[in-house]
Amino acid sequence: MPKKFIEDFVILENKRQTSEFVILTLQHPTNLPKIYPGQFAEIKVEGSPNTFLRRPLSIHDVDYQNNTIKLLVQEVGEGTRRLAAMKPGESLNLIYPLGTYYSLPSSNKVLLVGGGCGVAPLLFLGRFLHENGIKPRFLIGAKSSAQLVELDEYRKLGEVFITTEDGSAGTKGFVIHHPIMKTYKPDFDWIYTCGPEAMMKVIAKYALKRNLNCEVSLENMMACGIGACLCCITPTIEGNKCTCTDGPVFNSKYLKW
């Protein structure tokens, strides 16, 4: 296991994307350790009396040159609301990098499927694949166009397909309804997905049926994030596994889905 750290970062920038999403850029005073796409950090939310435990958030992007990382925060409760209100100069304590990561594909035809705040790890994954000579395609689902974030960033790395539930952008419907889902193998035989569990389950079933490799990233509730409390388990064919150390990225065929 690579080493984990507890360290203070300083907020460099807080960029609001939509009414629900912000992107925080955090800087570390010295060199960052190696971080892999799909890994996450456990974040201490200060000044939020009802946020007792740390909050797990994916590493959204990493810049080793400037020692910065980005977090994509969706405001859903007191903790994420407080994070989304943080100002440049404030400091944030992270335990990181945590958990497993998406594996390098043996194919170069890959599809990255994200929904909601589940897009968070996919930018970093896309960049990582790109750097490794693989051109990712992105399929991003949202309720409506107003929830779509950072499309231009993805487009720098590969082709981007969109679905929205209300049809306000891209194909109307859920990600599974997008035409590209019909053209697996020629177009892709490796799927990475992160998003609402219901979405990931559909994708996992789809992949299983077609014998495509599929890695999913779970967002189970966590207390410790480092494999000590056994609160975050998910049932697998090898018994209960910790989402924080055996995951969050699992090959979907191991999950009891």
């Binding site: 435990l53 740390r54 509730m221 410790c224 480092i226």
Partner: protein
């Protein structure tokens, strides 16, 4: 230099700071954050006779300054502990105490017997207080007669340090403590978690798969401290206090109330280095208040 060492019966601890069962894994999980050998001791995860898968997800809910858990003793069983886990952790230079849980007296005894055969396991903590299993667990810790029975049965088969961990979910914890002392416990640790519950008002469903679970964290500290004070006053064996300890000052309060050592639980999740910070904080306190030894604090609460 101040002297931080304390004795709990025949166990000698470098300092009074241990980590609580179920909150510190097997120690290895925390190696990136602290020097495990700097602790007085660690209590490993609850170990049962056979492997257990524990309760279904969700097992955790956040509460005001605390959390509920319903892990339900997930562990690989005592055989796997001895064969796979123990070899990896036995070289830590600290007291490693094995938390023993079970559903029946037979299961407790069988587990303790197997651990007794591993000579370098210095002690066990008998968990008669787990609220998260259907059978046994807490039931043993909430009646005098069963607390006595299970303690005596394990005492008969385990020759080294026997710490018994009490449940706070009782009317009179002193009564139970005395039974357990009488039945041969070398020390008494308290408290385990309080039975609690959490509901999501929006979905109208319980937040735990098991509906109820065990409450831990700073929220329980005032009750735990009261119980430690009552028990330390009533028994002769050393008392190990816990419940919400999150700072050196919290730890010192438990020592003042009569605990000879303390365990840090839920706080490890929020700050994985906290146990070592508490060791340092106690040392600073002793210097600042002109004490030579931490033992001077034990039971030193000043009343008029």
């Amino acid at each position: 230099m101040v002297d931080l060492s304390v004795n709990i019966g025949d166990l000698n601890l470098k300092n009074p700071v241990m980590t609580a069962s179920g909150t510190f894994g097997y120690g290895v999980e925390y190696q990136d954050f602290i020097d495990i050998n700097s602790l007085g001791g660690i209590i490993v995860k609850g170990t049962t006779g056979s492997p257990r898968e524990g309760n279904p997800y969700p097992r955790m809910a956040e509460t005001p300054q605390g959390m509920l858990n319903a892990v339900g003793l997930q562990n690989k069983g005592v055989d796997a502990f001895i064969n796979e886990i123990w070899p990896k952790i036995r070289t830590f230079d600290t007291n490693i105490i094995v938390n023993v849980s079970g559903s029946t007296i037979e299961e407790y005894v069988e587990t303790a017997e197997k651990l007794a055969l591993v000579p370098d396991i210095v002690g066990i903590e008998l968990n008669i207080s787990c609220p998260n299993v259907k059978e046994g667990g807490m039931a043993f810790g909430t009646s005098c007669s069963s607390a006595r029975q299970v303690t005596r049965a394990v005492r008969n088969v385990f020759p080294r340090h026997l710490m018994v961990k009490l449940s706070p979910n009782v009317t009179d914890i002193v009564e139970i403590a005395k039974e357990v002392e009488d039945a041969g416990a070398d020390s008494i640790s308290l408290v385990n978690t309080f039975l609690g519950m959490a509901i999501d008002a929006e979905t109208r469903r319980p937040l735990l798969s098991t509906i109820t679970g065990g409450l831990s964290g700073p929220c329980i500290k005032p009750i735990a401290l009261r119980m430690v004070w009552q028990v330390a006053d009533a028994v002769k064996v050393p008392v190990v206090g816990m419940g919400g300890i999150s700072s050196a000052s919290d730890a010192i309060e438990f020592l003042l109330a009569g605990a000879s050592a303390i365990q840090v639980g839920t706080a490890n999740f929020i700050n994985p280095s906290i146990s070592q910070e508490i060791v340092n904080g106690i040392a600073d306190y002793l210097v600042r208040h002109n004490f030579n030894s931490v033992t001077e604090l034990i039971g030193a609460l000043e009343l008029d």
